[in-house]
Amino acid sequence: MALNIPKNKTPIAEQKPEERSHNFKEVVLGYTLEEAITEANRCLQCPTHPCVSGCPVNIDIPGFILALRNNDLSESIKILKSYNNLPAVCGRVCPQESQCEGKCTVGLMKEHEPVAIGKLERFVADWAASHEGVEEPPKKVEVNKGKVAVIGAGPSGLTVAADLAKKGYKVTIFEALHAPGGVLMYGIPEFRLPKTIVEREVKAIEELGVDVETDVVVGKTITIEEIREEYDAIYIGTGAGTPRFMNIPGTNLNGVYSASEFLTRINLMHAYEFPKYDTPIRIGKRVVVVGAGNVAMDASRSALRLGAEKSMIVYRRSEKEMPARIEEYHHALEEGIEFHWLTNPVEYIGDENGNVKAVKCIKMQLGEPDASGRRRPVPIEGSEFVIEADMVIEAIGQTANKVLLSTFPELKLNKRGYIEADPETGATSVEGVYAGGDIVTGAATVILAMGAGKKSAKAIDEYITSKKKA
């Protein structure tokens, strides 16, 4: 039977590129029930299920797919939610090609695409949310095991909070911004992850009994000492949090943005709906985005949707080294994003009013492998050229935000300035203080942050339980 399964994933409805490149609505429209079951039938239910080990939170993937195939959506969402508190989010933003789907047995067969695990996860989560009664309400647990403070309401913090609430802890999340969700709210655009989906999944976590206090910057609004006095344990999941700049001449010209600012204005502040919303954003005609990760794809595609005539990506390495999720790259290509490989900006050129008008670039070539294992890009002398642009967005990564860390000197940091934490438990150098997500690893993925949260929730439970026994 295995040989008869369709070679390709069941096609999924998407907004057409020419249409979607002018709106912020979701690109992928999702499967119908029939399509989802068809795709679920491509799963071999193989006994080795390598997909599970490819998932940072080890979801029972064959299990939820089997339940879906049997048209038992209640069981399917129950399985998903027992591993993953944010399935509708993960189904949309995980890099499945390098995780579950990358290991799928079907995908290893000649000429076969793997099972569309991400799309199925998303389908089940969306179905459960839009059909009342499919998902059982959370079990009432007695809240008597202790108090935990979580700093940051991003994917990592939400995961810790949900898991601990399910175990009977009173959990409070302190969030610096005015809305919970972290990068899911301010970073990932609406067309990839609608904010109503994030709000829905955050609400489900709040219904577990988790308190989310927004507008609280720990280290400023309350101190870490005050939290330590009141809570049995702390989890720090503040995200990486500070944009890096190229620091080349012209960085402070008007029209040069960090991707963090550009995307925060659009996603969190709804600048694409200005003036209905108050926050403005520059509408570039010719936009250059520096970098080729997911954030760069998001920025270039957002610029297009705002009305750019041309949205370009310049990247100092080649297509092969590009870190973006493959689906985002394909979507970007379909929408007409122009890619300039082996190209690096060396200067932003301004006009007489202080606005950027061009980007001076240099051609690069790949040399010997560097610390990341990728071939190091080296400038080609004398190859400078100029790209006209009235807007530049730098998406070249982040460094550790110091607002909290500078007020907590006992906390040991690593050489790169992130928190030093045990990879298995999230335990830091300070007893009772755990950390995970980008503030430990540097900028990574939603699911890795969630995986760290899961491990820490378990470790925090063990820590508090053993301490209370003593």
Partner: protein, 278 residues
């Protein structure tokens, strides 16, 4: 939500509000600011904390109506609520015993200067304060500043009070008089701070200035507020808002402040159309 407890129009376009924000009040220090959002659709804007009452959990904001958000705030009454007030943000002023300090304020910047004046006085400094404005009634908080100043000098463009001239004229006058200044602060319109800093440099006085660039989150996450100080990029929200006035790239800051001029106008006109002129 953050309730407005008191509201007063001080002069044309300038308002004085007390807001219930216990956690901000209990941690606020001179020189810090909050980010305010009026409603779900609002923009996040930074406003300096003019005063705080730790015991009752209240903070004081003094602001000028310049754009949609501040006009909207001015329309709010006692009992109304701001959607978000987050802070205290930024690095507090370096208040310590310097000796003689020169405090220069203009416009609503005087409100930001006031808690620093008070703290410096309490620490035993000799405080000389210069407050400047176009005309006498626009020089706010004179009595409050006088209370914590050994000497208060007023300058007005039209000569309606004090010295006819600008704050730098008073700085030069103090210098001619032989006053030895150990440290200065200037907070007010960017152009005033620029010239106060230039004059201080001529006179060999170190000077702090409090920069007010465009911000979004206010916690170092976005870099919207980056300024160049002594040749380095700094974020005003976390590294500042106070910086060495001699090192600020003033013209760049003024250019960056104009980034959204056109949209700001659209937003304000739309709002004023909706509510009727104020």
């Amino acid at each position: 939500m953050f309730e407005i407890l008191k509201k007063k129009k001080i002069v044309e376009k300038e308002y004085d509000m007390w807001i219930k924000a216990p956690r901000v009040a209990s941690h606020a220090k001179p020189g810090q600011f909050v980010v305010v959002r009026t409603s779900d659709k609002g923009e996040r804007i930074p406003l300096t904390i003019a005063d705080y009452d730790r015991e009752n959990g209240n903070i004081r904001l003094i602001f000028q109506t310049v754009g949609k958000t501040t006009y909207e705030m001015a329309k709010l009454e006692v009992g109304d609520k701001l959607a978000d007030v987050v802070g205290p943000l930024g690095t507090p002023s370096e208040v310590k015993k310097h000796g003689t300090v020169l405090m220069i304020g203009g416009g609503v910047g005087i409100a930001a200067l006031f808690p620093i004046i008070r703290e410096l006085k309490n620490l035993g400094n000799k405080v000389i304060t210069i407050l400047g404005g176009r005309t006498s009634e626009l020089v706010i908080m004179k009595d409050e500043c006088a209370k914590y100043s050994d000497e208060l000098i007023i300058t007005t463009d039209d000569g309606s009070e004090g010295i006819k001239g600008v704050v730098t004229d008073a700085m030069k006058m103090l210098n001619e008089r032989g006053e030895k200044i150990d440290y200065a602060w200037a907070i007010g319109p960017t152009i005033m701070m620029k010239f106060a800093a230039l004059t201080a440099k001529d006179l060999g006085i170190p000077i702090w200035v409090s920069l007010n660039p465009i911000m979004v989150d206010g916690t170092g996450m976005c870099g919207a507020c980056r300024v160049t100080v002594n040749g380095n990029i700094r974020f005003a929200c976390v590294d500042g808002p106070e910086f060495d006035g001699h090192g600020v790239a003033w013209d760049e800051l003024m250019t960056r402040l104009k980034q959204y001029k056109d949209q700001e106008k659209i937003s304000l006109e739309k709002y004023l159309n909706e509510v009727g002129e104020m």
